[in-house]
Subunit: 163 residues, 2 copies
Amino acid sequence: MRGRVVLLTGLPCSGKTALSRRLAERIGERACVLDGDEVRKTLCADLGFTREDRETNLRRIGFVARAVARTCGTALIAAIAPYASSRTELRAACEADAVRFVEVHLHAPMPVLVKRDVRGRYHNVPGFTGSDAPYEVPASPELRLDTSTLELDVCVAAVEAVL
Amino acid sequence: MRGRVVLLTGLPCSGKTALSRRLAERIGERACVLDGDEVRKTLCADLGFTREDRETNLRRIGFVARAVARTCGTALIAAIAPYASSRTELRAACEADAVRFVEVHLHAPMPVLVKRDVRGRYHNVPGFTGSDAPYEVPASPELRLDTSTLELDVCVAAVEAVL
């Protein structure tokens, strides 16, 4: 059995990290979280936030995720992944590897996101996704979850049902 | 059970790729090969052959390998990995992850390596490891194999015995 790549995509503060961690706990030792914020301190420490760098960022994360999935693990990617073309490329690469790919779009109304953003980045960081950098909403993700109305456990159950 | 990271290190044409592939076949679906030459076309396409870039190259491969091993897979790294400090760093990172690390040094006499090098890179490529770029011989690898005297199947059996 090949493994799976689960992409949790959405604006900052949409709940990607929390959901990925809870899912990893539930799935157990075969799961790993690849968190965009964490990866930028290590594998992608050389990258910035231009479109090209964001594309490279997801491509590298995808490389890791596919290696995990090819060896029967479940890679949970928690990353903004703002560009549709990048997500499509990742999906195609997974399919080429005969690895399952599941795209989950997390969202919430902007006032909720801004309220969750305790560091005030939506207002203060230049080039921040959702304020002055684009986020292309997924057209047909396997799952779309409004984290302002759904409890975390409900979101976890929904993803598990799709897997 | 956590997985394993196996580093096959050695000069060009020492037999790393062949051994990694045979081992992957033997181990089965939980194994993946991370080949230095392949990775330079994808995850590390931006890197050259300076010391710093070679260090970054192994660091990125190590990032992938550890993710595979943390999810119970076996990552087989076939890479020159010329610097002792880089290999030590990878070992420490694996230990921090509670992942088994096995270093295998492949070697053969230089005339044998040059004869295997059908593309003549030992003579023609500037900065080639073993001709005008350094290779720091591992001081205490888990295994050291002379691929000029040992058949491939013997090498496979030796690595399996250590794993």
